[in-house]
Each structure stands twice: as C-alpha cells, then as structure tokens.
Amino acid sequence: EVMEQTTKVLATPVARKLAKDLNIDISIVKGTGPAGRVLKEDIYRRKEELNK
C-alpha cells in the first residue's frame, strides 16, 4: 500500500487508483483541485516529473 498518511490527503478516486498503479506516493503530490485536492492530472504531472 502506498498510503501511509499522517495528514489527510484530499484526492479524487481516480487519482488514488492511478497513483497506486503508477507507484506514486500521493501524499507528496501537489493537488491543483479545489482545497488542494489531488486530481488525476496531478498524478500524470508527477509521473512526468519523475520520468525526467
């Protein structure tokens, strides 16, 4: 499991599943949705950053 969280991460269900599949720690992804919610776009962006 990817998510060992101390603070709550607001994320959409799709973002969570995507993060899990791409092995990305969602708790350190910057969310661009309302109230800082992590959207699927944010996961894709994070993936690209990691690939660089």
Binding site: K8, L10, T12, P13, G33, P34, A35, G36, R37
Partner: protein, 460 residues
C-alpha cells in the same frame, strides 16, 4: 433436506435484495418468507404511502389549479375516491412484488413460503422442509411498538386504535385522525390525511417532533405542518384511551381528543421471536451486529430493521449486500455516517450526514450555510417555494459533513449530497460544479458558495 450456501430469513427489502445479490454472486440461495414478499416496505410501508401521497398531491394541486390557469367549473364536484386510491395502491404494490418474485426466480433463488424456524445456526425448518445452510442472514424486520396505555387493548380490539398497516386498509377515509407519536411515519401520515381533508392531530411526548433531524429542518417542518392545519400537541403524555377518545396531559393540563381512528406510531420492536434460543446477542434495539453485519455467532448475519440500527429500507438493502459480500469473501463494510433519510410530504425533507449539533459534538470546526428555496427561480416557476437547504461543513478543507434539505423535491435532491459525501467532496466542488438552470439543485450550489464566501442570489 436441502443444502444451501445462504439461507435468508425474511423477504423484505433487506432479505430479498440479499438473496438476489447472493444468487448473482454464485451462492446457492434460499429465501424464507412467512407473509408477503417485499416485506413492510413494499406491502405496507414505503411504497403504499408514496402511492397515496401522489394522489394527495394531485388533489391539492387540483384545488389550487385556478391560480395556474386551469378553470374547473365547480370545484365542489372534485371529490376523493378513497376506494379507488387504495385500488391503485394495491395495483402498484402487486406490480412491484410481482417484479421482485420474478427477479428471485430469474436469479435462481429458491423461495419457501412459511414461517422459518431456526433450529440451529445451520438448520432452518419451513413447514415440513428442513434447510441446511452454511450461512444464515436474518432479515425478519420489526413490528410497531404498542405502548402500555390504559384502555388501549380494548380500543385496538374495537378497531379504533390501529397501526399504519390497518390505516392503509380502512374502507372509509376517517374524518378525524389522532396520531400518537411524532416521528417520520407519523409525519407522513399526518400530511397525507391532512391533504385529503382529514382533521389531524399529533400527540407528541416531547417538545419537538422529528427529533433526530437537524434543528432548523425539524422546526421548519413542524411550522409548515401547523400552517397546513395539522394540530401538533407537544409535551403531551397519553394518560388513557377510552373508545375513540384519548386523554392526555398537555403541559400539566388534562385534555381529551377524539378521532374516528387513532394511529399508533411510537416506534418499533425487532422481530426476534424464536431467535433467542440459539444464543444470539440481542439488545433492546435488536440483534447486535458489527459493520460487516456479523452477529456474535459465526455464519449468522442480521440486516435491516431486526438489527434496529436504522429503520430504513435502503439501509436494509445496503446491509444485505454487505452481508452477502462478506460471506462470499469480498471485504465489505457499511458506513452509517452518510445514510440519507427522507420525509415524503409537501414539502419533503431529504437529509444525509451529520446535523449541525452532531458535527459540533464530534468536535468539528463547523461552518454552516443556508439558502432559501424562495430565492430559486424554478421553485417560483413551480409555485413551490417553501423551505431551505443547510450545508454543514468542516472548516479546514470545507468537507461536506451533512446536507439537510426542506423543499418540494428534497427526496430527489439528497442523492447529490450522498454521493458528494461518499467522494469526500467539499463545498468547493459543490460550488464549482455547474448546476443546470433552472433547477432546484441550484440551491445546493448557492449554499456552497455561501459556505465559502457569498451566494449570488441572496444578499447577506
């Protein structure tokens, strides 16, 4: 002797949904029902009442239709045909229960008619047949609680004091109806019969009706009911029933009320008769279960009204699915925090999640935002502008903790709140989501704007 993976005891919305789900998931499944498939909900509860409420609404609309540009030459010639209303109700019920029977059959559920006797956790007897099962789901429901009041027995015997089931079977519409109790069912019956021209009184022990609801909603609803001419007697203890007369103590003063019929609706007791001997843990609410619907006995699950958690059909069905999924090895649990609850009337109530009081008690840093239906264009277009919405949210992220709606279409509208909460949504998404114009749902968006900053369509 027949062998099953799952036997379901009771064919209400808890039991029949569980049985269908079980069969869909590949379990060899039996359903035992002593009365009517569909249980209270389809036969004497949810569906019959909504069928009659629709007729009531139509009647009310007809009486008001002049304002909407429809001329009826002599309005006194518009009359209620109670017999016909009940016939339509019966037809709808038959259609739905027939549908459920077909679904059970189509999915391959064996249905046994008759009282199911639980011999032990793996053995159920129905008439001359014995069923062996790996798992048992108890879904026997609940029955109206009959309080111990002086003279009540005699009045029940003479058919004056009745429960909701009998009230829906009356040959004639009563002229005066006295209702003991101020819960959801009482409220729905009060509004229904009031609309049909019956003189209705509600006798309520405490200082409020609909005690479990958010304060603003329950007070708003009570006010609207009284405005409609429903007589609500708060702080009233019933001292005795004598024929068709109820004697109460109202704020220290003794009074009597008369009704052709007296409806008892003061709660319910779980149907656990014949279940105690197998060692099931049962408390005053019903069979004790955890969030997987497991009882204290391995392989026995209890769902619906018999566990006494929520007396709601959709909870019974959801619990049924959870029980079956757990049996079939799919981890599943129920989350009661987001359960919606509705009152059908004119207007309606739809509510889900925490009330303001509950949210504060649970230590949240609460923000609330209300928005009146009267500021909504569609409501004015429809001529139904009573009520309001109230959103309860957590300050930190704006997470929606509860949504409470008093409005004409509240029961249709609450689904948005339920799904939002399922998605841990915040007021920011509710405000940002483009709600269609003109719809009542715009009040959700407006209230959400109000929780963040300011709504557009009221000045504050």
């Amino acid at each position: 002797m027949k062998d099953y993976d799952i036997v379901v005891l009771g064919g209400g919305p808890g039991g029949y949904v569980a049985a269908i789900k079980a069969a869909q998931m590949g379990a060899k499944t039996a359903l035992v029902e002593k009365g009517e498939i569909g249980g209270v909900c389809l036969n004497w509860g949810c569906i019959p009442t909504k069928t009659l409420l629709k007729s009531g609404k139509m009647y009310e609309d007809i009486l008001n239709s002049k304002e909407f540009g429809i001329d009826i030459e002599d309005i006194s010639r518009v009359t209620i045909n109670w017999t016909k209303m009940l016939q339509r109700k019966d037809k709808v019920v038959k259609q739905l229960t027939g549908g459920v029977k077909a679904l059970l059959k189509g999915n391959g559920v064996d249905v046994y008619s008759g009282l199911g006797e639980v011999l032990d956790s793996h053995t159920i007897k129905v008439k001359d047949t014995t069923l062996r099962t790996k798992n048992l789901i108890i879904a026997t429901g609940a029955s109206p609680f009959i309080p111990d009041i002086k003279g009540i027995k005699e009045s029940i015997e003479s058919g004056i004091v009745i429960t909701s089931k009998e009230l829906l079977e009356q040959k004639e519409l009563p002229k005066k109806l006295v209702i003991l109790g101020g819960g959801v069912i009482s409220t729905e019956f009060a509004i229904l019969f009031n609309t049909l021209g019956v003189e209705v009184s509600i006798i309520q022990r405490s200082h409020r009706i609909l005690g479990s609801l958010d304060k603003d909603i329950r007070e708003g609803m009570a006010k609207l009911m009284m405005k409609k001419g429903i007589n609500i007697l708060f702080n009233s203890n019933v001292l005795a029933v004598n024929g068709n007369t109820v004697t109460i103590e109202n704020n220290g003063i003794e009074k009597t009320l008369e009704g052709d019929k007296i409806l008892i609706s003061v709660g319910s007791t779980p149907n656990v008769n014949g279940l105690q001997h197998i060692g099931l843990k049962i408390d005053k609410n019903g069979i004790v279960t955890n969030e997987k619907m497991e009882t204290n006995i391995k392989g026995i699950y209890a769902i619906g009204d018999v566990n006494g958690k929520y007396n709601l059909a959709h909870v019974a069905s959801a619990e049924g699915i959870v029980a079956v999924e757990n049996i079939m090895g799919k981890e599943s649990s129920i989350n009661y925090k987001k359960v919606p609850s509705c009152i059908y009337g004119f207007p309606e109530v739809g509510t889900a999640g925490l009330t303001e009081e509950e949210a504060r008690e649970q230590g949240y840093d609460v923000i609330t935002s209300s928005f009146p239906v009267a500021a909504n264009g569609k409501a004015l277009a429809e001529g139904e502008s009573e009520g309001f919405i109230k959103i309860v949210a957590d300050k930190q992220y704006g997470e929606v903790l509860g949504v409470h709606i008093l409005a004409a279409h509240a029961t249709d509208m609450i689904a948005e709140a339920v799904t939002t909460m399922e998605l841990e949504g915040t007021v920011h998404e509710l405000a940002k989501a483009i709600h269609p114009h003109p719809t009542l749902s715009e009040i959700v968006m407006e209230a959400a704007h109000g929780a963040i900053d300011k709504p557009i369509h009221i000045f504050k």
